[in-house]
Amino acid sequence: MKILNMVKAYFKRYGGILAALLILCIALSFVSPAFATQNNWINILRQISINALIAFGITQLIIVGGIDLSVGGVVAMSGCTSVVLINSGMPVAIAVILALLTGLLAGLINGFCVTVVKIVPFVVTLASFNIYSGLAYVVSNGSSVACKNIAFSKLGTGYIGAVPVPVIVMGVIMLLCWLIMNKTVLGQHIYATGGNERAAEYAGINTKKTRMFCYSLCGVLAAIAGVVLAAKMYSGQPTVGVGYEGDAIAASVLGGVSFEGGAGTIGGTLIGAIVIGVISNGLNLVGASYQTQLIAKGIIILIAVGIDTLKKEHVFNNLFGKVKNV
């Protein structure tokens, strides 16, 4: 009974986006026989893993009432750092940890500017994107750095059983984020701070610390994405992160994260990331050009979020409410 209720609640919450995903999948499996195969799905999951990792960080940051546009810069910076350090002869584990620390540092700087200096998050991270991108060029000396370390490249290309390593990383990080948001005091503080900062502050919650944590976590997750991406590409590339913030924000919003703060879930964001992945994958399969893909992606995001917003505004209830009552 309890499980049934949970399933019901799940569909009530994500019904719209799940239905859209289902329709998309059914349509694509008719158009392309290659779509509904196990291989293709593993492929989709691997493709979305980078975006999902970033999006989990962005999700909890939007929930707490912030935003991070610098994640693309962090992705490039951490990727280049890990490859350059490994090429200099450092053990892979230590190089990866140091690369993740650059992400933590980036997040801390963003958080400091927002919570202490009190600059608007949009502006802080718009500016710091340039800084982190620039640092990626500095680290890589201006061009892409190839990495021949096989152990490292397994992080991006390897499999455990039938599952690609990036998908496993995504799964583990998702579980961690889900635990933080749903099971811990910290998660409660994040929802409270984003939902009504004044109420949270008056209740005695240290909202500065809470927001600082979210910025740091977002930085670290972007750095993890950067390392996995570098491993996948056998190289650190300073140009790689451009546009990643857009996809991550889109995944969050598709998954029901509210820009007003205080509402949204990690599970929803995963669905959002899958939707974006399926769109790209499907358009690839039918041979659509890159420019078509971009336009289609933008339109689909607008429609999906538009429907969700109208639903919240009860427009549909007013339109269809009477029919239902009959």
Partner: protein, 495 residues
């Protein structure tokens, strides 16, 4: 004897405006102490200092004989001081249980114990006779229920001093009785309570001592049993009751100008009334009774499901504010900071906002006409400011309200709707607003005035409409003989 709280020589200023001047306040252990004074007298500021939201500019605070420095909400909570806020201060997207334990989540190693939280919340809700699922989101509760959750939130912690800032403003009589029961029980346990309320009868019923503030000064402290209502008012306004109420004849209405027939929206039901030319039609009722919503429907902010609105006998349909303005109906909204003003811009900008097209033709700005208009109205309403280029946010509440009113008067309306025009402004400014309202009715403008301040709206109205839960209960022809009890009878749902 030892005091629970001893605040001495407290000073506080906000951007050079002194809000508290050398105020001292003592609270005995286990007493209920009323803190009284008019809006803007400094009650809330004093309490926000005690609860760590504001810092003090000078003076000392002792807590059970120990000199303390309260720098943050956490500090205050550490001492055992909790504040129940006047405005509801909850997280709408979170559940009742989550809100009650917002900062004190039952947890082990940082992991929330959800079951325990729900059980404890349920227990507390039961104690207050509230039968609502504790997993309901706060945004799905009505105002009174939200306020009860706020109260429960403060009482859920182990506290020595509880500050209640107008806790009963939207509670029903039975909920108030219930709250008083809890206050008495807390008192027996030795908890001290500071009780801020505008309702005299509550002070006499529940409080042991009282302190009155006036214009940021300490006006006096007394045992409740040694003082009567007139004595308190005298302390509050610094003069006798009769003088404080600037008595005027109620303006009399002539023919009907506006007629609302069977108005039905999501929030209000079957509302019918007439507004007569030159009268002041008051709207009373509890918070959430549908007064603002009725006005929103008339000016086209809320959608009308059925019913009609007749202006001078002709049916009008306002689809938005612009059409209402064109029809000669203007609304001074409830929340002047949110809906009435662009705070970060100048007085001039704000005053001109509704009729820019009158002063700007293509690329030509008629600076002279602008200037004249701003001067005319700032003189007429005696707005005190450095000049029209001063930012609205730097003016006092009363002067801000005058700007909002003047920008709408400049549209030359036939009907002026005022929603809580005197909320949060001081006595002198209030008196000016009252005489302004009288003045404009003399010019033939009809006024609808919503107010939660019952004596105020009773004093000023020609007729008084009373709403309850979206229904119009009665329209009373006002005279000085009508009592508050009569009005409250309708406001509580009587018919």
């Amino acid at each position: 004897m030892e005091y629970a709280v001893k605040m001495e020589h407290i000073n506080k200023a906000f951007s050079k405006v002194e809000v508290l001047k050398d105020v001292s306040f003592c609270l005995k252990p286990g007493e209920v102490h009323a803190l009284m004074g008019e809006n803007g007298a400094g009650k809330s500021t004093l309490m926000k200092i005690l609860s760590g939201i504001y810092s003090t500019d000078g003076g000392t605070i002792e807590f059970y004989g120990q000199k303390v420095s309260i720098k943050s909400v956490q500090d205050a909570m550490g001492l055992g001081i909790a504040l129940i806020h006047q405005e509801i201060c909850a997280v709408p997207e979170m559940t009742i249980a989550e809100n009650i334990f917002l900062a004190h989540v039952p947890a082990k190693f940082g992991i929330v114990k959800k079951k325990e939280r729900e059980e404890r919340a349920l227990q507390l809700m039961k104690e207050f006779d509230l039968n609502i699922d504790v997993n309901t989101k706060l945004k799905d509760l009505n105002i009174a229920q939200q306020q009860m959750v706020e109260i429960i939130k403060a009482l859920s912690q182990d506290v020595k001093v509880i500050i209640m800032d107008e806790p009963t403003s939207s509670l029903t009589i039975s909920e108030i009785e219930n709250l008083f029961g809890h206050i008495r029980r807390l008192k027996e346990q030795g908890t001290s309570i500071i009780y801020i309320s505008h309702r005299m009868e509550e002070t006499f019923e529940i409080c042991d001592r009282l302190t009155v503030l006036r214009d940021g000064h300490l006006a006096g402290t007394s045992e409740v049993k040694d003082i009567d209502e007139d004595g308190i008012i005298k302390l509050m306004v610094g003069r006798n009751l009769d003088e404080s109420f600037n008595e005027k004849i109620r303006p009399q209405g002539k023919e009907a100008i506006l007629e609302v027939k069977n108005l039905e929206t999501d929030k209000v039901h079957n509302i019918s009334f007439q507004l007569k030319k030159g009268e002041i039609l008051g709207f009373a009722g509890l918070v959430g009774a549908g007064r603002t919503e009725t006005m929103n429907a008339i000016v086209g902010i809320d959608k009308i499901k059925s019913g009609s609105i007749l202006l001078n006998g002709k049916e009008i349909k306002n689809k938005n504010m612009r059409q209402a303005i064109d029809n000669g109906i203007v609304l001074v909204p409830e929340d002047r900071k949110e809906c009435g003003l662009v705070l970060s811009n100048t007085v001039r900008f704000n005053m001109l906002l509704p009729q820019l097209e009158k002063y700007i033709r293509f690329l030509h700005v008629n600076v002279k006409a602008e200037q004249e208009m701003v001067e005319e109205y700032s003189h007429k309403l005696s707005i005190r400011m450095h000049g029209p280029d001063q930012k609205a946010e730097n003016l006092s509440g009363g002067n801000q309200q005058k700007i909002v009113i003047s920008k709408w008067l400049a549209c030359k309306p036939d009907i002026l709707i005022l929603d809580e025009p005197t909320r949060g402004i001081d006595v002198a400014a209030k008196a000016e607003i009252y005489s302004l309202i009288h003045q404009i009715t003399e010019e033939g403008i009809s006024v609808i005035m919503i107010s939660s301040d019952l004596p105020e709206v009773m004093r000023i109205s020609t007729r008084l409409a009373v709403l309850y839960e979206g229904n119009l209960q009665s329209i009373i022809e006002m005279s000085d003989d009508v009592t508050q009890e009569q009005v409250m009878y309708y406001a509580m749902g009587g018919k």
